[in-house]
């Protein structure tokens, strides 16, 4: 309702027409209707017309398609590109109906045969063009908004489904893990007892040792599953001030045997102005252990064996990156790496929970973990941890 056409404000018409006779005719027809206030600007070249359009304020364009500097539908598309919000009415000769219809299909609002037009008709066509264009644009806008909303809805639905799945899985996993705890303790201890009462030269001794190792592996898996399912609260660990450099040292130390054995060159680049931050030391240690462990796995079979650990402040966060020169992750796998139980490692080498656990540990710090990878060149994981923690988390 705020439009010029309904408010009887002067309508700005731009006529792009090279034939002086036709231009004069249109001008006369427009003036016949005294009750419509209007301003008419004329251009006899497309280029002049486009220049005029550049200055805002044109309400409707009357366009002849055949101009000295542009012909046919090309003329229309240039005007559309210049001023997509302005309605266009095509002026045609009597025999140009086919091309006029094509023009309407390509974005013109209407067409009018020059010889045919009387004042009433011309005004009606222009008014309708203005109103229709406005309605069209609003529809387009509403459609865009709807599309955006729909996308957001789909995204949050996917997240919801994912978190529902994970939480249902968590409950199941926790239940099963607890049920396994006691039997595993039994196997471990009864076997240990047999081991104690078997001499090393007994041919069965080695098998008992194997049972022990495998049972310990099971216990580790169950313990990981429990951490994953949040039943055993890592969240109960208190926050304390700690430098990431110290945590890195401890973890690298823990893995030094493997790093040396596999001839990996691990370098640390820790920016001196990195502040100590409040964090759950064990949780962050577990994440880092997991990231470096993964990096080492990625380097198996790689020519270049390098891991680069970098720490530097980044705005309100401290950024910790672990980059390897390994095999990389295929793009289509990239968004799956945090999915629980997703693993590309051979059976027995990974539970597929490491990154899933890592992500929830980092998120519990109010941080974020992201991954970039180029197949054949390597993978970089970046962990962002907030420097300031909110008060309520600092208990």
């Amino acid at each position: 309702m705020s439009s010029k056409s309904t408010k009887a404000l002067p309508i700005d018409v731009l006529l792009i027409e090279d034939n002086p006779g036709d231009a004069r005719l249109i001008q006369e027809i427009l003036s016949e209707s005294a009750q419509v206030e209007h301003q008419l600007q004329c251009a006899d070249l497309l280029s002049t017309g486009l220049e005029r359009l550049d200055k805002a304020g044109i309400d409707v364009v009357l366009l002849d398609l055949g101009l000295p500097d542009s012909q046919g539908l090309d003329t229309l598309s240039k005007v559309c590109a210049q001023a997509p919000e302005v309605p266009i009415v095509i002026l045609t000769g009597l025999d140009d109906e086919i091309i006029a219809l094509q023009a309407v299909r390509q974005g013109a609002q209407d067409y009018l045969a020059k010889g045919d037009a009387d004042s009433k008709m011309l005004w009606r066509v222009m008014r309708y063009a203005i109103e229709r264009k406005k309605a069209e644009d609003e529809l387009k806008k509403a459609h865009e908004e709807l599309k955006l909303t729909y996308e957001q809805l789909r995204e949050s639905q996917a997240q919801l489904v994912q978190s529902e799945k994970v939480s249902a899985l968590g409950i199941l996993v926790a239940g099963v893990s607890h049920e396994l705890d006691n039997p595993l303790m039994g196997i471990l201890n009864f076997n240990d007892y047999c081991l104690k009462h078997t001499t090393e030269d007994d041919w069965r001794y080695q098998f008992l040792q194997d049972i022990q190792h495998e049972t310990e592996r099971c216990i580790d898996i169950v313990s990981n599953l429990l951490t994953f399912s949040h039943m055993e609260k890592v969240g109960e660990e208190a926050y304390q001030d700690e430098s990431l450099a110290k945590i890195i040292d401890r973890v690298v130390n823990l893995l030094s045997y493997r790093i040396q054995k596999e001839k990996v060159s691990l370098t640390q680049h820790i920016s001196e102005n990195t502040p100590a931050i409040r964090l759950r030391v064990n949780a962050v240690q577990q994440v880092l252990l997991n990231l470096i462990d993964n990096a080492l796995d990625a380097l198996v079979g790689s020519q270049k064996k390098e891991i680069r650990i970098e720490v530097h402040p980044d705005g309100d966060f401290v950024s910790l990156t672990v980059a390897d020169s390994g095999s990389g992750i295929a793009p289509k796998m990239l968004d799956k790496v945090y999915d629980p139980f997703f693993t590309t490692k051979p059976a027995g080498k990974g539970t597929g929970l490491g990154l899933s656990i890592s992500r929830s540990l980092i998120e519990s710090h109010g941080g974020d973990i992201t991954c970039e990878s180029k197949p054949g060149l390597g993978t970089t994981f970046e962990v962002l941890l907030p420097i300031e923690r909110r008060k309520e988390d600092n208990k």
Binding site: H178, L184, M185, G186, N189, M231, E232
Partner: protein, 128 residues
């Protein structure tokens, strides 16, 4: 006189693990398969150390702890569990009410059981 240990756990696997771990330790190990049975055992016997499970049918670990603290305020009690999150509030309440106890994480190996037991009982001897 030999020190006496009481293991209260509804899982025979756990009870037997303690018996095996401590069989040549010189300590005497009694077992009870429920909180109720554990408290019954305490009626006639003074224990030097009690291992207690949390998740049991009947009286659970925290309830059993309250009962046994009425009979013996000083005996060290080690609550062993794989998950204390589910009982976290009850445990916190018990601690606030002045009940002494420690938490042990299951599963425990024979060596861990033997080491922990020795540590607690030998340390107790020193402080006596």
């Amino acid at each position: 006189m030999s020190k006496r240990i009481l293991v209260i756990d509804d899982e025979s696997v756990v009870r037997r693990s303690f018996v095996l771990a401590l069989e040549n330790s010189g300590y005497l190990v009694d077992t009870a398969s429920s909180g109720e049975m554990g408290i019954e055992r305490m009626e006639g016997t003074k224990y030097d150390l009690i291992f207690l499970d949390l998740n049991m049918p009947g009286l659970n670990g925290v309830e059993t702890l309250r009962e046994l603290r009425e009979r013996d305020k000083d005996v060290p009690v080690y609550i062993q569990t794989a998950f204390h999150a589910a009982f976290a509030d009850q445990l916190r309440q018990a601690a606030e009410d002045g009940m002494d106890f420690e938490i042990l994480k299951k599963p425990l190996s024979l060596r861990q059981i033997a080491d922990i037991t020795k540590e607690i009982l030998e340390e107790a001897k020193i402080t006596e």
